[in-house]
Each structure stands twice: as structure tokens, then as C-alpha cells.
Amino acid sequence: MRIRLKLSMPRRWAVRRSEVAGRGEKVPALKLTVFQYVIAGVMLVLVSGLWRLQVVGAQNYRALAQANRIRKVPILAPRGKILDREGRLIVDNYPSVSCFLVRDQGHDIAPDLPLIARGLHMTVDQIDAVLKKYRLAPKYQPLPLRQDITPDEQEFIEAHRDEMPELETIQEQRRLYPKDGFAAHLIGYVGEVSEEMLNDPQYAAYEPGDVVGRSGVEASYDQILRGTDGSEDVVVDSHGREMGKLGMEPAKPGHSLRLTMDIDIQRAAENALGDRNGAVIAMDPHTGEILALVSRPTFDPNDFAVRISRDEWSKLISDPEHPLLNKAIQAQLAPGSTFKIIMSAAGLEEGVAQTLNVHCSGGVSFYGHYQRCWVHGGHGEVNITKGIYQSCDVFFYTLAVRLGIEKIAKWANAFGIGVKTGIDLPNEVAGTMPSEEWKMKNFHQKWYPGEVTSVGIGQGAVTATPVQMMRAIAGITSGGALKRPHVVNLNDPENGIPQDFRTALEESYSGSGDRTVPFEREDWETITDAMADVTMPIGTDPSAHLEGIDFAGKTGSAQTMSNALAARLGHAHSMHDNAWFVGVAPRRNPDIAVCVLFEAGEHGKLAGRLAARVIEAYVNKQRRLQHNLVAEAPKKIEVSAIWSIPGLPNDGKQKPVMTAIYAGHFMTNGNE
């Protein structure tokens, strides 16, 4: 039955009514068959698409699906601890929490910024600066917002997790260094691996963002200390939400490293130098083990453990006092009269000094120049012994003229002047030992014989570092046995240093190494006896005398510029002489050698007093150990005395947690 509607389609549409339309007619069967083939064709295309993905590309897409859902989360390996020669802790790690900003949460962070800033004790500008700095970084990469956050900041993040899912915390281990820059130049500091380092094949194993030793032992023994990061395979969904764990490869912590440094000697050296600018370095001449290394001014490596701000960094590098410079190995200065020991050794070995007797009337003329002695009244009759203990310039001018520059340079080079010592710390400098060849090479000029006199007293073109002077004089007083100074004993089984690293290290820190300079016993005795007289009332530095200790040494007061230049510039700060002292105890085959550089200290004897305190500390300690003198029990040094508390102003207040972690680790005698 059909319903007729009154409201029918307008006639002008010219569409015939359906009841009439097509009745009895048929669409040609061929057209429908075409349809069937079209559909079959479409289906085949779709199946071939499936075939391509599911049969041909299955393995590839399976791998992509796995990569999608499995995220390798690194487990950061804690760096190895650094210990002193007795195994006392110097550098440790502490757990630290950093806050990251995650941006791909589909959550607009802009309105949260003021609250985040308040909770993290930052300003909105600081957060904006972070966002701006990383504006080109991919969206899924979390941005480091704030390092080393405090417990109340952590609490803030936890409390607002639902409203602000963009805040993420990550726990990591950070370096904890001694406070006040204790041994800072020896230990060094760590920092994020730099762009240039990543391009260096030596750092092939590092990835951007890795923490790497940037200076000191942290840099030269980075491979030993750093360990191997592990990783955890976490199953995540597309929002990065964790759905489960698949497996993990634990991190291999870095190997701890025992230095040759002795905290007791280091403390004595630190205290001796105090706030003075300069360097102190002490070594065991039998082995070349460095017992103490101090450079002033110092810096706080803890500032680097938490990412250092641009301001702090530029302050450190633009400081005219160069706090980051390790003066013990990087300050190349005129060694002054300490060089006279090398002159003496050369003169005696060449057979010139034994018979040399000069009359010092306060000055002498050579090659038409009148050269003054530091004692204007003159020393009178001077032989080699008096020349050393009275540091008579006239004697050494004469000796220098007799020897000539070539012989001086030969012996000075043999004792390591002008050559790196090969100490296992980065960026050691070589200093300068002039010679005819050196002058020709560098100035394209012939050597002028008159220049030799200033070389004879360690001035002129001669420059040396404290470590070079210490090694040379330690070698001479040890009968010519020179050692390669080092801060880590490579043979110590506890350090577990692999052979290939050892070879690589010795190659990269090449120097003159261990060598023995044949030395006449008689000459040796002459020099060491004269050095012992230096700290006697007849010597240049009786104030450094130590009762009951065989303390021998040599003072030096080195001009930082020539007298002529100083006169032209007038009395400037920089014209104060540098005070040097190189001392050993006992005088022959010493157990300890010390070099003190006291910049602008005017007279070597002021440096000698500082050296005496290091020697004294060493000898007292040895005596206590040898005689089991424990009547005076070593008292524990409070933790806060050694470590500053990260994140808190250095006002002596301690974070109880830190005390609990480090109590008892650090023990030293409280003599100093």
C-alpha cells in the first residue's frame, strides 16, 4: 500500500514520481559486476598494505613499538671517594634532589609560574630565563629548574603534585668537597662535560650532561673515579607514565682513590700559608709522593658541584689573583736565590766551585756592568759554603761567569728546570731555562755573555714553578736521585688502577720522570751542610730554625721585574719581591722536601718560617708514630670543620642529616 502525500515535490524539479520511476527496469548487470571488481580491488590494495606492515615490516615495527614503550632511565653511578694516604675521607658524595620542569604533560604551565617561583624560592624571571635558554630543546626533554633543592622545597613539590604535574624531582649524587677550599687545587672539581671535550676523542665515552672532572685529581683520574652508569628499562605509556619495569643494569660506582697527600701535613701547609698569596708543596723525596699541595687564593669546589652560575664563574676567572690557578705547578716565576743550589751543584760537579773564593764588597763588575750583592756592605771572603748560607750574590755572579750559560743550562736541565716534572695533575707548565740555543730560537739573537750573571742568582730569564724547585732540590739533597712527583700512588693495589690507564697517564703527563744525576758524594755533603747552615744563626734564615730537627733549606727573594723596569714604573704593588724557600729534613736523603712561594713576601726568610711549620708538623707526626706517643690522643675534628654544608650559608650551623652521615669519617690530630 502506498501513501500519497498532498505535499509533493514541485513540478519544476522534473523528477518523476517514484511510483512510476524505473519500475520493471533494471540496472545493467555489467555495472554491478564492475562494482564487485572495484571492491575486490580495493580489498586487495588494503590487504597489500597490511602485508607490507605486518609481514614484510613486522620486525622493524616491532622494534619501533618496543622503543616506544621502553624508556632507558639512567642510573647514575656515584663517583669514587677521594681519601688521603691514610684512608681518611676527603671528598664524598651526598644525595641531592634536583627539580625538573616537564613540559609535555598537556598542561599549561604559564599560570603556575608565580606559585612555582614562590615554592622553589626563585623569581619568575629566573624560571623564564630557564625556559628561554631551553626554548629550542624538544618538548619531551625535562628542563633543569633548580639543583640541590631543600627539604621544604621538596615538600612543596610533593604537596602540589596533582595541580602541577610539570614539576619532577630526580635524585642524584653530588660531590661534597672540604670547605674553605681545603686542598681545592689538588682535588679539583667536577662539572658538566663541555662542548669542546665532547669533540675530543679522549672523551668519547661521555655524553652531553655527564659530569666530568674538570681540574685537579678529579680531572686526571676521572676515568678511575667516574664509574659506569647503569640503566633501567621502564615500560611507559605515551604520557611517560610508568607502567612497569623490565630489567635493570646496576650502576658500577667509581673506584675510590687514595692520594699520597696526608691530611695532617696538608692542614699544616694550609694553616702556614694562611691568607697569603702563593703556594706550598711538600713531597717525600724517596718516592716523589706529594704530601701537601696548597695554592692561594683558593676557591670553594662545592660551588662547582651544584651547577655554577655564570656570575660566580666569571668572578672566579676574572679575579686578578687567579684563584683557579694552581700556583704550585702553574706559577712560573723567577726562583731567585733558591736557584743557587742548582748553581752550586753545577759549579761543584764542573770542578769550578770547590776552589772558588771571592771577596764580596757589596758588588762586582762584569762585562762593564756593576752588579750589587743583596748585602750592600759586602760579605767579605766567600767560599761555596758561605755563598750558600749567606746567599752571596757576588759569589754566584762570579761562578756563573766562570761556568758560562751552556754549562749552567746543562745542569739546570738535568735537575728538571725548564722541563715539566710530569706531576699527575692537569696543565703543569715547564718554566724557562735560558741557553744560547733558547735565545736564538726565541729571540733570534746571540746570547750576550753579560746576561749570565743574573741567571746565576735565579733572575733574568730563568723561571720555575714551585714543584720544579722542590723536585730539583730534593734530588740534589738526595744525592742526585730525582723523582717524578705524583699525587696518586699508581702501584697502590687499593686504587685498582688498570695497566692501560697507568700507561696512558704517564704518557699524557710526561715530564723528566724518575732519573738519577751522578753526583759526587763530597759535593753533595758540601751543599747539604751549607743548606743546614741557612737555618742557623749564621744563615739567611735563623728564624726558620727548628730545635732538634735537622732542617736544611735555601731562601730566595726574587724580583718580579728588573731593577731598571721597577725604577721606571715607580713603587707599585707588584715590585715587592716574591719570597721563596725550599727546605728539606733531614739535610741528606731527606724524608720531606717543601717548597714555599710567598708572593710579594719580600724576603725568603718569611717563606722559610712557613716551610718550617710544615716540616715541624711532619717530623712531629713521624715521631709520634715511631715512638707510639699517643699520650696526646688525636682529637676528632668536627665534620663542619672540614665540609661546608651545601645549600646553606657557611655560618657554622649544621644540617643534622649531614652530620649523621659524616660523623666519624674524618679524624685528624688537633695540634695545629
Binding site: M1, S18, A21, K26, V27, Q54, A58, Y61, R69, P138
Partner: protein, 365 residues
């Protein structure tokens, strides 16, 4: 005149295939929503399917000639409704629904598919027997182009595109000659190019979606993301599939909307090449069965009706599965009988109900 509608003539075979696909759909929706906030949506899908089934039976007893008679009124009503939709506020950047009292969301654009099938059947059936003039052709184009443009304005590119196969089938079966056909194809190509270049009709994101399938890696975090994740999901399935509820792309929410537009990708990941081919085979059988019904229809409008349904279905299957395997752009066209959603289910079952009626009427005179 008495009409005899017998349940014996109801197409039980077709219904059987449709039910298999519906069951597959419910299981896959269950799996794909397991770890999302849409968990449990398979229950709604069962409800929609039951409702759809009921509508299908209802539709199958309504004489399609009645629909043909009144279709111009229905068409007019829906054009008004489409204009009305454009007056509603935007939801998620688009206007698609008219809210009716009782919380029902009325989406005219889905129903328009059905209306277009009927009106094209009526129009072209009336023209059979003589050569189509340009006037005839342009009238047909106008009938389809008006709703297409209105829906494109919502904007809903996918739905608007599904209208075009109805027109194509009408023109083809209505007897367009080769010359006019060729000119039309040329005009469509030029027109599409012009629309593309003008930048007026298509929004930039629509353009990006249309092109990103060619090189999804050009923008892997943006428009290419869905294509890449879909291809990974399909490929991850391999030959045998990862197993139900065990597809990592589907369960880890990497696959976008795995219960609607990308449900076939989810199915491919969990049931592999074998499962996917079986499903495509069932679709093929459904379509073949429909064409058979078209052949045996009592009159031309009946054939046109069924073929209109076939055209919409094959178009949706081709575009959706093509998108899932990376052969087609992302257009937001659901896979009939598989994708979750009331509108899609209702359309499909109403269309099938109409086909049933055509079949059951074949011996009625």
C-alpha cells in the same frame, strides 16, 4: 494491494556477517579502552548495537517506496538542521550536534548520509532510460554539494567526504556517458586543486592532515604522529598478533583513539595479519551480499538504494583502513561496524534495515 513481508526473506546471512563484525568490535573496544578512562565503553557499544539492531528491524518493515515519496521533505528538514547546527556554540572547535531536550545529542550530518542515499535513488531512478543531460548532472551535484558544504563548515571534513560516493554511484548507475564523466573528473581535479590553493575552504590543520600521510616523519610529534603510531601498531601485530589486550601500542596509549577511528589498527596489533585479513574478508562478503541484493531488487530505486549503501560502506572501509595502514590521510572517518559510537552504529544499521526491506520486497507486487 497487500504486501507480504516474510521473515524468511530477511537476509539472515547478511545479518550473520554483521553480527560477527559487531562482536569483534565489542571485544576490541573492550581491549582498547582497558587502560584508559574510557574503560567499560564496550558496554555502551553493546547498547548501541542492540538499539541499532532494533532500528534495523523497524526499518526493514517500512516500505522503502514510502521513504522515496517523502524524501524531499526529509531532505529539506535536514538542510535546515545543518544550518541550525552552525548556529550552535563550538565544542572542541567544531559544531556537530544540536542538543535536544532529554540530553539527546542530535547529529544531523550522520543522518544526511541516509537521506542522500534515498534522494539520489529517487532522482536517478527517475532518469534511467535516457541520457543524462548536464542539467540533470548539475542538479544531482547540487543536491549533494549543499550538505557537503554545510558539513564542511562545521568543520567535519570526514563526514562531508562520505557524501561524495553516493553521488558517484548515482551518476555511474544513472548512466552518465563516458565523455561527460571524463569532463566531470577533470573538473573535480581542477576544482580540488583550486580549493587547495585558495586556502579558503580547508583549514590549515585539515590540509596538514591530508598531506602528512605521504611523509609522516616530517612532523613526527604533530600531524604525522597518528599515522606513525598507527603504522607501528599494525606492524607490531605481525602475522599472528600480540594477543587480545596485549598490544603495547594499543594498551600504552601510543595509538590515538584506538576504540574509534583507529580501532582497526588496535585490532591489527592484537590479532595480526591473519585476523585483519579475516575481518576484511567478512567486509568483502557483506558487500558482495549487498550487491547481490541490489541485483535482485524489485525495481530501480531499490537497486539504487542498496548500491548507495554499498558505496558509503566501501568508501568508509577504504578510507579508514587505508588511513590505518598509512595509505590514506587522517580524515576522521570511522570504520562501519567496528568503530565505537552511536551515530555510526545507527547509520549502519538503519542503512542495512533499508537494504533488508529492498530484499524482502523483491517478490512483492
Amino acid at each position: 494491494m497487500r504486501r507480504f513481508l516474510s521473515l524468511r526473506d530477511f537476509d539472515w546471512t547478511l545479518l550473520g556477517f554483521v553480527l560477527i563484525l559487531s562482536v569483534v568490535s565489542v571485544f576490541e573496544i573492550y581491549s582498547a579502552t582497558l587502560h584508559t578512562k574510557f574503560v567499560g565503553f564496550y558496554r555502551f557499544q553493546i547498547l548501541w548495537l542492540c538499539g541499532g539492531m532494533a532500528m534495523m528491524f523497524l526499518m526493514s518493515v517500512i516500505d522503502y517506496h514510502l521513504l522515496l515519496d517523502i524524501v524531499h521533505w526529509i531532505y529539506g528538514f535536514f538542510m535546515l538542521a545543518l544550518v541550525g547546527v552552525l548556529a550552535t556554540p563550538k565544542v572542541m572547535g567544531a559544531r556537530r550536534w544540536i542538543k535536544l531536550p532529554g540530553g539527546i545529542h542530535f547529529q544531523p550530518s550522520e543522518w544526511v548520509k541516509l537521506v542522500l542515499i534515498v534522494i539520489m535513488a529517487r532522482y536517478f531512478a527517475g532518469l534511467v532510460g535516457r541520457e543524462l543531460t548536464w542539467k540533470d548532472i548539475f542538479k544531482a551535484i547540487a543536491l549533494v554539494a549543499i550538505p557537503m558544504l554545510l558539513v564542511l563548515k562545521q568543520p567535519d571534513l570526514g563526514t562531508s567526504l562520505t557524501y561524495s560516493p553516493v553521488l558517484l554511484v548515482g551518476l555511474f548507475l544513472g548512466g552518465i556517458d563516458w565523455k561527460k564523466g571524463a569532463i566531470l573528473i577533470l573538473a573535480v581535479i581542477l576544482g580540488a586543486g583550486g580549493i587547495w590553493m585558495s586556502g579558503k575552504v580547508l583549514k590549515p590543520y585539515q590540509k596538514a592532515r591530508l598531506t602528512s600521510f605521504i611523509n609522516p616523519d616530517a612532523d613526527p610529534k604533530g600531524t604525522g604522529y597518528q599515522i606513525i603510531q598507527s603504522k607501528i601498531a599494525v606492524g607490531d601485530g605481525g602475522v599472528f598478533g600480540r594477543g587480545a589486550t596485549r598490544g603495547t601500542q594499543t594498551q600504552g596509549d601510543f595509538l590515538p583513539i584506538p576504540y574509534t577511528d583507529f580501532i582497526f589498527a588496535a585490532f591489527c596489533e592484537e590479532h595480526g595479519f591473519i585476523g585483519a585479513v579475516i575481518v576484511l574478508l567478512i567486509y568483502f562478503l557483506v558487500l558482495m551480499r549487498l550487491i547481490q541484493n541490489a541485483q535482485t531488487a524489485a525495481d530501480l530505486p531499490g537497486t539504487f538504494l542498496v548500491m548507495g549503501v554499498v558505496a558509503v560502506l566501501i568508501f568508509q572501509i577504504a578510507v579508514n583502513v587505508g588511513m590505518v595502514v598509512g595509505l590514506m590521510p587522517v580524515t576522521g572517518i570511522p570504520l562501519p561496524l567496528m568503530s565505537y559510537g552511536g551515530s555510526s552504529v545507527l547509520f549502519t544499521f538503519l542503512a542495512l534495515g533499508m537494504v533488508m526491506n529492498v530484499r524482502m520486497s523483491r517478490f512483492v507486487n
